[in-house]
Symmetry: C2
Subunit: 168 residues, 2 copies
Amino acid sequence: MAVSDDFALQSVKVAMTPWERFDEFLQARGKRITRQRRLIVEQVYASHEHFDADQLIDLIHATPEGAKASRATVYRTLGDMVDAGLLRKMVLGGREVYEHDYGYPQHDHLFCSSCQALIEFSSDELIRIRDAVAATHQFRAQSHRLIITGICADCRSSRSRNRHQDRV
Amino acid sequence: MAVSDDFALQSVKVAMTPWERFDEFLQARGKRITRQRRLIVEQVYASHEHFDADQLIDLIHATPEGAKASRATVYRTLGDMVDAGLLRKMVLGGREVYEHDYGYPQHDHLFCSSCQALIEFSSDELIRIRDAVAATHQFRAQSHRLIITGICADCRSSRSRNRHQDRV
DNA sequence: TTGTCTGCAAACACTTTGCACTTTT
DNA sequence: AAAAGTGCAAAGTGTTTGCAGACAA
């Protein structure tokens, strides 16, 4: 599941579009460019929202022409995209969601436990602390993930009666 | 799954042992104190390590006397303990692990992707940043989770040939 | 042509549930 | 005795896999 070293070297090139990058990834791995993989990448980039496997599958099944890719293929391709560094996977309130990774700046999230909204933010200070903590433990930090859970502004104002606290 | 408001109020008392707290939680919910629940709580507190459901079940099945609790009951009780605020559940490298929460200071983790070691740390600065970020987004932060992934000191030194990078 | 990919359905790993029986209160 | 809890096995979930036929290269 980890990006192989040889491929990681290539990832220094930043001017590629996501598809070009995936293309290169497939080539480097002797994998083929198929109709399904193209369709999946296309749908993944159709929006910038966070999504899970099921949502993507629904999206694909909803495409006009007989364009299709099976559940198994979607899972396999999502895995490839994560390996290629195009997507990042995380677990949120029990479900595994994916978000675009390639070309997007490192960021973390505020997660509303009431409406499930996910708000992105980034903080240089956080990175500083991360590195400082790692150094203290002679630990080589490779990445991190911070999720702040709470109630978003919208849910706080509509506290009265609306969809407040139903899920989670 | 969330701590009910009435119970949350009681949680202000901090002088209780984990069992006393669980006891109180059960009473507040009209739940009963059974042999199984006692056994499970006991085993959970037999060590301070992070564990998953299976490890706990093995531990229970390994107890000397015919002391037993079924898989289903263990799952049900772990859920109750999380609700009671005794345990905290998190996902780490694919598996759901639990750690003691009650009476333990808030902390975050360094996770070694090579040997799966979990190192705890806490940082006041981090809390400060968390609150600052939340404020910026008119978000009411309730909790957070930061996991820094990388390679621990041990694995870095035994980089040569030992169990290096075998698991994710 | 060769070897990878796909779709399907079966297999999986965990977790949750329905139900008859047991235990606490 | 009444109500809640337990164990079992069955049912879910969400993801992965083996394999025969389909399809890039």
